[in-house]
Symmetry: C2
């Protein structure tokens, strides 16, 4: 078998120059390994000379730990996800883990991607805006690979998840709009069978119903700008258009606002109130000033990474469903109720049941 003599420097070459064994080189680059300062110095000197870097791939093969976390993500046009990705990459990096990125098909088919992820023997998997079939969940469990669903629930309870309390937040949004004395409600739904959509829709609609509201329309935005535009036009073209809209995420809420203002000449919040979910970047821009239920990216990501690490290190995968606390951030896209809005850390929040 021919072997090329150039290419990246190996520990063997360093050993030769340093006049020590290859094991000594390895130990020098293994934190906590038993090596004398003198040997260590010799090795480091030779390594520096040759420009040696340990081969992480070879190390992985030995340790059965790749220090790679596979991440599947979609919806990059919804700023929530890039923000999550940035935070994830940074937090993993701090722990000396690395992030192998996969873009999910919008049709939610993860099988092909999954195969790729598994081939790289990742130590953990984060699925953002993707759900996992029972078969694949069980395969991960069997293989000992922790999986965290980010912003999606696992209805089977096999893998872990990190979410905000979608249903509670949606209930609060309904109460906020009711307190603002709105009359005609609409919900712009995300993909119908996504867990967060189900929870948000249920919380919103059930709360309105329980207060005797009958005028509730549901249209499908499906987390897509085009479809949301169409849905919004449909709403605003109807004889009695809604005066209060909750969109299942900010990205759709912003689209609804633009259609309302620029195609139908509606004033926000005078003619129409709009509320979103995520509290992502553009929602805070003055052009929108969107009132929105927050999903605290840093906390959610920290929880995700902590969970992953715990499971990787313990080699014991006990699925956990984590819920991170969000808040209803009140800005100017929705008429404010007379009471219940408080100021905190420079933000306005809706906290009606706050008792002193």
């Amino acid at each position: 078998m021919k072997r090329k003599t150039f290419g990246p420097v190996t520990s063997q070459q360093v050993a030769q120059i340093a006049g020590v064994s290859q094991s000594a080189v390895s130990r020098t680059f293994t934190p906590g390994a038993s090596i004398s300062p003198a040997t260590r110095e010799k090795v480091l000197k030779a390594a520096r000379e040759l420009g040696y870097r340990p081969n992480a791939i070879a190390r992985s093969l030995n340790t059965a730990r790749s220090r790679i976390v596979g991440v599947v993500m979609s919806y990059f046009d919804n700023q929530f996800y890039p923000q999550v990705l940035e935070a994830l990459a940074q937090k993993l990096d701090e722990l000396n883990y690395h992030l192998l990125l996969f873009v999910g098909d919008r049709d939610g088919n993860v099988d092909r991607i999954f195969d790729q992820i598994m081939q790289y023997r990742v130590d953990g998997i984060v699925l953002a805006s993707v759900s996992l079939s029972i078969e694949l969940s069980e395969e991960c469990l069997a293989a000992g690979i922790p999986v965290v669903l980010f912003n999606r629930d696992d209805e089977n309870g096999i893998v872990s998840s990190v979410n905000t309390d979608n249903e509670a937040a949606a209930r609060q949004i309904a109460e906020f709009l009711l307190a603002g004395e709105h009359q005609r409600f609409a919900y712009v739904a995300g993909i119908a069978d996504s867990s967060v959509n189900i929870a948000r829709q249920a919380g919103f609609v059930s709360t309105l119903r329980s207060k005797g509201v009958e005028d509730i329309r549901v249209v499908q935005g499906n987390y897509d700008a085009q479809q949301t535009s169409r849905a919004a036009r449909e709403l605003f073209s109807s004889p009695q258009p809604p005066d209060a809209i909750f969109a299942a995420n900010d990205h759709m809420a912003l689209t609804v606002m633009d259609i309302a203002r620029y195609e139908f000449g509606l004033r926000i919040p005078d003619d129409l109130s709009v509320i979103g979910y995520d509290d992502t970047g553009p929602s805070g821009w003055p052009s929108y000033a969107l009132t929105s239920a927050s999903q605290p990216v840093d906390e959610m990501v920290s929880a995700t990474v902590a969970l992953l690490m715990k499971q990787i290190e313990s080699e014991n995968i006990e699925p956990e469903q984590l819920v991170v606390k969000g808040a209803l951030i009140v800005r100017h896209s929705a008429r404010r109720p007379r009471s219940g809005v408080i100021e905190k850390d420079g933000l306005s929040l809706f906290q009606p049941q706050e008792v002193e």
Copy 2:
């Protein structure tokens, strides 16, 4: 040495069940390898039973090809970059390559990240909004790892790059604003020593100067929303505020627009024209309708991937500086000149020198 008996299935185990050699298993999963249909079937059957997936890490060690491309990216709040990332991940995936993501420090220090990337023996590197020291460039060259700077130039000419023609586009923007009969100009600069900022500033300022314009202010936005806000306030608070602003990217341009409208009550484009660079998502939203020099993400990414693949496969790293053609997309954030704006594919473009 103890070896655990559980964990991922190995080719050895498949071989045993299938009643063939381990080599036969390997060949079954190596496209183009010499294997009889009968053996192949036996192997596939056993593999299916056991849930076998080839170990990409082990394969990498043999082939000296990880099929991983390292990507360093920052500025996730500027939608241009998430869009680039999504396209990159998708295009690489189509070629059965994978994307290891690193978040660049805003201070542009890539050394620590670089060490990580190299340890994973990536087959190629894409640096978005990051530049590379001569030392590291040469190390990559020596190691035979192709590097593409994305949206940054390599002043040393050691590594490749993919850009639009920043200087030409900036000249065109100056001409557009001159043709619109603006009087007082300002440039909101990105990080002063970033190659794209240098080119955009040079093209803009030199063109204005050559036409006798003296009233040109330059303020630093440094690709940062906070700093851009401050810079914008400074401009609008001055006795003779500008009536035409070119911001080095869309993200800063949008911030400038918000400050102008909501803090200073300026009407756009009546009181003020704003132009950006990137033509990224939010620029097309009706609330902004930003006139902007486009950077065609798909073409730039395709060019990047093609370049990378060529260099990986040829094992010959000849640096190339690619320039992708953009256009000045005319919307409503800047007063239009009387002539020079043409319609094409549903977009308005500025093409003054177009001769029939």
